[in-house]
Symmetry: C2
Subunit: 209 residues, 2 copies
DNA sequence: GTCTGTGAAGAGGTTCACAGCC
DNA sequence: GGCTGTGAACCTCTTCACAGAC
């Protein structure tokens, strides 16, 4: 398959989400409409979409549902099969807030397990998701073919836990801790904690907010 | 001041965090050590640092503390004055998990207020941070000179709430909802919810995790 | 010798501008 | 008229490679 540049991939991910929340599912959407919504130039949007090799939109805008499907197919983020399996590691207030609620519903991911070091905490939580002690990471991750983890442990043990996760087969980590993780090639980390997000906002914009 | 490219800014933000967690505070660090930790090329690291115009590291590596200070100064993310003021909007499980705990401690940001629509919820929460009804956004945000918000409300009201926040003076939003927000020029959004983060991992890497 | 700092070359992404289609 | 798709130009960021500092 054609190689899609990473900036384009990221925009397409966002675009896919935007198309989902556009309530006009039967209708069509044009590159300039998307441009108004996102701030990206219309040329960039057309280029991104053309990389998908669908050509469904000649002179008439893109059909919303078809475009969404094409993006999902190209980026391998279709919701089929219950989606890619992931797990939560660390069930403090933040971790357990992702257990309940609708954090994963309707997405291309399914929550297959959650882990904590404390049996106490596990017994207190009431959840549809199976909960385990972290001692069971080694068996549960391969058994359930989990490849993605959401890390919500205390900062001090974040690197150590990341190392363990990687050694058991995890290939992608959403990092909600304040620790910058060091991982081998082939493993992807996405930092999503508040301070990092805030710092990116301030650091990215010309500053002085 | 010289213009620092956005990719460099983002790396410098991360680098600053890495330097903080390097326990050798008096010591020096070289570009190749940083390269090993991050995976970025040593040339890129030297170029990034040279954009700061400090030149403190001729032939001997960089002094850790000085480098950290230089990055913080250039990106305007120094912790001084208690840091930039931000607020949490929406005190469900996720929002309230950021209230307690150490989410902001030691960062360049301070939590100046938190908001929810439900007086019930506000009264139940025990927090050092002042809590308000969202009807008070209009007065509290300008009064406390808050420029950053962490959005944790239900998806359905996220856009509407973002519009209100922007109109009251918020210039940066950390978005923990699953809604892609549309904001005017000059306002920065950083999406940090689980599904977006997971999708980025899958979409960014060559796929098939 | 080791390391930084930086012109110059190279790679990668974005935008322009227009042909082609409806 | 309005819209997509795309070669070509443009621009931005990265890497090379080496002079200069220690």
């Amino acid at each position: 398959m054609k190689q899609i540049p990473i900036p384009s991939r990221r925009r397409l991910v966002t675009l896919s989400q935007i198309l989902q929340q556009l309530k006009k599912n039967g209708a069509r959407v044009t590159s300039s409409e998307i441009s108004a919504l996102t701030g990206w130039s219309d040329a960039t949007i057309r280029r991104d979409i053309s990389l998908l090799c669908v050509h469904s939109g000649r002179s008439n805008g893109y059909e919303v549902a078809a475009l969404r499907e094409a993006i999902a197919a190209a980026l391998d983020i279709r919701a089929g099969n219950g989606g890619k399996r992931c797990c939560i590691v660390g069930l403090g207030p933040l971790g357990s807030s992702l257990l309940s609620g609708t954090a994963f519903s309707g997405s291309a991911f399914s929550l297959a397990a959650a882990f904590d070091t404390s049996m106490n905490r596990i017994e207190l939580l009431d959840s549809d998701i199976p909960l385990y002690l972290t001692t069971e990471l080694k068996t549960v991750i391969p058994a359930k073919e989990i490849t993605l983890a959401v890390l919500c442990v205390p900062d001090q043990i974040a690197q150590e836990m990341a190392d363990r996760l990687v050694s058991f087969g995890i290939r992608g980590i959403v990092n909600y801790t304040n620790t910058i993780l060091s991982v081998p090639d082939g493993v992807t980390v996405e930092n999503a904690n508040v301070v990092t997000a805030l710092t990116r906002i301030v650091g990215a914009s010309g500053s002085s907010l």
